[in-house]
């Protein structure tokens, strides 16, 4: 039952048995969320701080809800409203918070590796809620959970990850997870947004033709263009990107099978995906959000439970 790691820094550090445990545990929590009273007293004695150094809607609300459903005490911290803007270092900020007896840290930061750095210096368990362009493990877990719920298994399934592969932590975490669980992965997008040597490094297929990628896959995970992380011109305009790589209903209808559409949010409607595709029956975007709470409950439960009071 216990995970092999103390923190959840990335999917990269997890064993496939850990992923299996998290997904199975999430199934039980999903049942809890269907009850008349959607709350269990499991983490009554645990205090969790949500450290968000970068903007977030879904992830922060989802984590906060997961914590409250587990009866943990929560503190929210947003960098813009804190002493970080007065020049306090990351380690100082966190150590000050921990001295108030906090057990777990859920953290999002724009610098890749920030949670890994903290994990080396503080005793509390850390959950990475997205670090720069590195990983976003809980998103990959909830994507996997949603695929498994829809298709029964991940093994042998064909997943296409479409869009800004280069700047997406969701893509990286998804690739690690899907490969560990025996799925086949294709990354698709314009050559400027797909790093070189993807095939060699991750054993994934690379496809530059959107329609071919969609025709191949069972599930298409469409990513947002991360304009805030692009400091050079990688495609001429959003309109041109949309024409070549935007997923829309007409394109989906032209395939000879019905594929599942996912998106980690936030959606830029009319850029990477059109409304007629995002709101179609094939889309499980809102189920992904719903499953996010159950998956995050599972992660927090597995990391917080099972440790005796000795430390």
């Amino acid at each position: 039952m216990q995970l092999s790691t103390k923190h959840l820094l990335g999917i990269r550090d997890l064993k496939s048995s850990d992923i299996q445990t998290i997904l199975d545990t999430a199934t039980q929590f999903k049942e809890v969320l269907q009850r008349p009273i959607k709350k269990v007293p499991t983490l009554r004695d645990v205090t969790i701080v949500n450290l968000f150094f970068e903007n977030s809607t879904r992830t922060r609300i989802s984590f906060e809800l997961a914590e409250k459903r587990l009866s943990a005490d929560t503190i929210n911290f947003t960098a813009s409203a804190s002493s970080v803007s007065k020049g306090e270092s990351l380690l100082d900020t966190v150590n000050n918070i921990l001295s108030m007896k906090v057990d777990m840290v859920v953290m999002r930061h724009s610098a890749s590796g920030a949670p890994h750095f903290l994990a080396k210096h503080i005793p509390a368990a850390i959950v990475n809620a997205g670090d720069g362009i590195n990983e976003h493990p809980t998103q990959a877990l909830l994507d996997a959970f949603s695929i498994r719920e829809k298709l029964g298994t991940l093994e042998g399934k064909k997943i296409a990850i479409i869009g800004d592969i280069m700047h997406s932590r969701v893509a990286l975490s998804n690739i690690y997870l899907l490969k560990k669980m025996g799925a086949e992965v294709t990354v698709a997008g314009p050559p400027t947004l797909i790093p070189k040597y993807m095939k060699e490094a991750f054993d994934v297929r690379v496809e530059y033709d959107l329609k071919k990628a969609l025709q191949w896959c069972d599930v298409a995970n469409v990513l947002r263009i991360q304009l805030e992380r692009q400091n050079q011109v990688l495609f001429s305009s959003l309109r041109e990107y949309s024409l070549a790589y935007g997923v829309n209903k007409r394109l989906l209808d032209s395939l000879d099978k019905e594929i599942i559409i996912m998106h980690p949010g936030p959606i830029n409607r009319g850029v990477e995906i059109d409304s007629d595709a995002a709101d179609s029956k094939q889309s499980i975007i809102l189920q992904q959000v719903e499953n996010g709470v159950a998956v995050r409950m599972a992660v927090l439960y597995l990391l917080a439970g099972g440790k005796s009071e000795q430390n």
């Binding site: 039952m1 216990q2 499991t42």
Partner: protein, 173 residues
Amino acid sequence: MKTILNEQQLSITIQRLIHQILENHIELENTVIIGLQPRGIYFSNRIVDELKKQVAADKIKYGKLDITFYRDDVRQGLHQLNQTDISFSIENKNVILIDDVLYTGRTIRAALDALQDFGRPAKVELCVLIDRRFSRQLPIQSDYTGKSIDSIISQKVKVFWKENEGVDMVELL
């Protein structure tokens, strides 16, 4: 090692328990059965199978409850999770909780907590196959008892079921 109940005794005991239940809950009107995961389910399945011979099957409301999230020892170790499946309301119902062995009473304490999240029952009763007397850590007792035994902490009560272990039997190890 000592046999507490053999196959024949176990079968007679179950017969007695279902008749005691039916005596207090005529036709199981307004009564629901909830088995506790994981090991209580084998026992509750038997009880429900036998009840079906006495009462129309559609009168029997039967659910399964996993109490892992309500344990008071989460920080001492994680336990295997099992499915909870209660597909009916327990609001104002008579609930009969079913477990195989009643020992410290902590599982039942957690189960009572868990039940509250599904509604407010009119009454909760407890049915156990084996009651390990004098080892309770909480003020909890059963309403329907298969057999009461005296045991010490170092001993273990093991219930074997045909479905799982190939034989119906209760042993004191």
